[in-house]
């Protein structure tokens, strides 16, 4: 396929879409599928057929619409109506609504802050295109950025554009993407690799999963542009086996892109060749760490190794390797299409662009949101999230998963960016955000995350392997009312060791949930130890006198 043929295909597809009077987009990402959206889609297709509207109305499966707690979601174009909590029985009414008035009881208010306060870059196609059709992606300008990079830009110009954008790694650490790319580009190697890290594993987080399920071609395009920029010819996507739908859609996407020569040899008639392979992870959290991930791709036990050398100089099989997260790659096509300066205008001084968060826990609207960097936590929790249900009181928000920390009420007006979150003892992380109200016990929360780290530790280095096990045991004792103030001292000392002495990021950040809750909710720890009570009423503490003799 040549560039011209691709433009023709885009036009043809756009025309085909416009022949329909309206489109009913049914979310077929995992969240809505769990609520039965596939049956809803079938029912709507039948209802359309029953009324003989097949030529006028297109029913298609699309990516995530965001408000996962109110699934299955439906988005009707061009009217812009969003229906929520749709059941198969509602199908005839919805189709009827296309010709008369929309179904009032199912409509999501269009001025809902949940939708209004968001800003979509990574998720711009979610909810409008069918993730299983490459033609849909091409029709909305897909692969144009790759064409632009291959035909109008040199590799160093691509890197310069990414550097100018100020994009930072979305996997959690926030390393400047342009700098990483230029390091790999400069490295010497007979071969180079590009790896997409899709081993998302934080409890409650599903940003990368949804991006892959909603718009897989965007990630492939980002990877191809990266490969062109750094001089790689082969790419791997490391995705965990727990994401079967993402894997299926990626497989389809890779096959489609190969068929259209958007992946493979001499892409679009240029000298650039790039192929992508999938590697399925077996569900080890530590394989999200880049050196463990590479070991796993090489077929070895997935354990990290000390850095340096960094993957940029000594990566997969010893060759220079670029590793970026799904969301980072998903940001690349719009940056190349619109220019780095456009991207740099969004966000704060040092954190640019948008960030996708999985908003979960004790908020009214849970789901997937994309917000500009610098938005405050208050806006996320109370405007977009709709506040705390049942009139309960907000207590803390946990960001960054097991590596992050709990941020208390006094920091609600904190702008969300890499530096601010680090300053208050948490991290941006990959985008998990769990809201907690007064019914959550912070010691119990810390125990939950430490237990996660304990069972996900690879066991290679001593501080993480044994340290997390003792941390868990100390927290178990405290939550059981068996703790002493000496245990608390030991807990703090051990946190310091595990944080400072562990080999990889998993161990180094494992104490964060404990440290941040100790910093802001120390009184809860003391209540468990001294008063033998759990202020939130979560932990089952038996008072000494209640224990039968």
């Amino acid at each position: 396929m040549t560039v011209d043929e691709l433009q023709q295909l885009a036009l043809k597809e756009q025309e085909a879409k416009q022949r329909y009077r309206c489109r009913i987009n049914v979310c077929v990402a995992t969240g809505c599928i769990m609520c039965g959206s596939e049956r809803v889609k079938e029912a709507i297709e039948e209802a359309v057929k029953a009324r003989g509207l097949e030529k006028e109305v297109l029913v298609q499966g699309v990516g995530c619409l965001g408000l996962c707690s109110a699934g299955p979601m439906i988005y009707v174009e061009p009217d812009g109506i969003i229906y929520h909590k749709v059941t198969p029985e509602d199908a005839p009414a919805i189709v009827q609504g296309l010709v008369s008035t929309p179904v009032e009881r199912l409509i999501c208010p269009p001025d809902l802050p949940f939708f209004k306060r968001q800003m979509k870059i990574v998720m711009e196609n979610s909810g409008t295109i069918d993730p299983e059709r490459i033609e849909d992606y091409i029709a909305v300008g897909g692969y144009q950025a790759l064409i632009k990079a291959l035909t109008e830009m040199s590799p160093s110009e691509v890197i310069e554009e990414v550097t100018k954008s100020g994009l930072r790694g979305r996997g959690g650490a926030g390393y400047p993407t342009g700098l990483k790319w230029s390091t790999v580009a400069k490295a010497n190697g007979a071969r180079k690799f590009v790896i997409c890290n899709a081993d998302e594993g934080d409890p409650g987080a599903y940003m990368d999963r949804t991006i892959l399920e909603s718009d897989p071609h965007r990630v492939l395009e980002g990877m191809a542009i990266a490969a062109y920029a750094v001089g790689a010819q082969q790419g791997f996507i490391y995705v965990r086996a727990e994401y079967p739908l993402a894997i299926k859609r990626l497989r389809t996407a890779i096959r489609q892109a190969e068929r259209l020569n958007l992946l493979g040899n001499n892409i679009l008639g240029t000298t650039f060749s790039f192929s992508v392979e999938l590697r399925i992870g077996a569900g080890a959290f530590v394989c999200g760490e880049e050196t463990a991930l590479m070991a796993s791709i090489e077929g070895k036990r997935g354990t990290p190794r000390p850095r340096p050398p960094y993957p940029a100089e000594y990566g997969l099989w010893g060759y220079p390797t670029l590793i970026n997260n799904v969301e980072t790659f998903a940001n690349i096509p719009p940056i190349i299409r619109n220019g780095g300066e456009w991207f740099a205008k969004i966000g704060t001084e040092r954190s640019k662009g948008t960030k996708v968060f999985a908003l979960a826990g004790r908020v009214v609207n849970t789901g997937l949101i994309e917000v500009p960097m610098g938005i405050t936590l208050r806006e996320i929790v109370f405007d977009i999230g709709g506040g705390i249900p049942e009139g309960k009181r907000f207590k803390a928000v946990q960001t960054g998963g097991p590596s992050g920390g709990c941020i208390p009420e006094q920091f609600l007006d904190l702008p969300v960016d890499y530096e601010s979150l680090t300053k208050v003892g948490s991290i941006m992380g990959s985008g998990g955000m769990i809201v907690m109200d007064e019914t959550s016990c912070m010691v119990d929360v810390a125990k939950f995350f430490v237990e996660f780290c304990m069972s996900e530790s690879c066991g290679k280095c001593v501080p993480c392997r044994v340290g997390t096990a003792h941390l868990y045991e100390l927290l178990r004792r405290i939550t059981a009312g068996e703790g002493t103030m000496r245990d608390l001292e030991l807990l703090e000392e051990l946190c310091d060791l595990v944080k400072s002495a562990s080999l990889c990021g998993l161990g180094q950040t494992a104490p964060n949930p404990v440290l941040s809750t100790l910093r802001y909710f120390r009184h809860e720890y003391e209540a468990h130890i001294l008063d033998k009570t759990c202020p939130a009423g979560v932990c089952a503490i038996r008072r000494a006198e209640e224990v039968p003799a």
């Binding site: 000390p306 044994v466 400072s500 002495a501 562990s502």
Partner: protein
């Protein structure tokens, strides 16, 4: 013409030392009589930086680095024995002692054990963490050797020597985190391994009483490692 050897100068604990490019902090320190404690490291095997006992401070780097895998750089200022480092090393030993069962008085390597020696040297006299005492098996199925998982510190020296030097790769690690365990072949009794050459290298590189020869009573098992530097030289200086 051979490429000239590049020399780096640095200071370790205030002492000015010189080193060849590519040498690690640990190698240079030992050449200069500065002893950094190690456990998973063994000269002749690929270093892995796992036990974290050799962590040192380097001025300008805000995290601690393992001396066994960190290469020297010009002008580095290394501190190997700060109060903080000593405290961490003591705690790491406490963690190791509490992890499994290390009762020296009934151990075959009592008096010849690296873990015991480290504890004595670093002044670890008591353990503040509860002993975990997991119920682990002893595999005596091999005709000449025994593996007692209760004494294992998971340094993986046996895994590496069998893979890198002997080339048999009998040993590997199974499980995650605190449940990690050394296994023979595909987690089968050692005596049934068809690739084990019974060379005994694993037994002699083991720092504790986890691997020992049969027939040894308490304190009788001494480890002999002379073969390792010799084999390393014979293999062409690969370190």
């Amino acid at each position: 013409m051979r490429a000239p050897v590049k020399i780096k100068t640095l200071t370790i604990d205030g002492k000015e030392v010189s080193a060849r490019e590519g040498e690690t902090i640990l190698q240079v320190a030992r050449e200069n009589g500065i002893d950094i404690p190690t456990l998973c490291y063994l000269e002749g095997l690929e270093p892995i930086g796992a036990c974290r006992l050799c962590l040192v401070e380097v001025k300008g780097i805000n995290r601690l680095v393992p001396a066994c895998v960190t290469q020297v750089e010009e002008g580095m200022e290394v501190v190997t024995n700060s109060e903080r480092l000593i405290k961490y090393r003591q705690m790491i030993l406490e963690l190791l002692f509490s992890e499994r069962n290390h009762t020296c008085s009934v151990c075959v390597v009592n008096g010849h054990c690296e873990l015991q020696r480290l504890a004595q040297r670093l002044g670890v006299t008591h353990i503040r963490f509860p002993y975990r005492y997991p119920n682990l098996p002893i595999d005596a199925s091999h005709e000449r050797f025994v593996i007692d998982h209760n004494r294992c510190v998971l340094c993986t020296r046996c895994v590496r020597v069998c893979d890198e030097i002997e080339g048999a790769h009998v040993w590997d690690v199974m499980g995650r985190g605190i449940n990690s365990r050394i296994i023979a072949d595909l987690n089968q009794p050692w005596g049934t391994s068809e690739v084990c050459t019974s060379c005994g290298k694993c037994v002699h590189v083991c720092p504790t009483g986890a691997l020992s020869e049969k027939g040894k009573a308490v304190a009788e098992m001494e480890k002999r490692r002379q073969f390792l530097p010799y084999l390393t030289v014979m293999r062409g200086g690969r370190q």
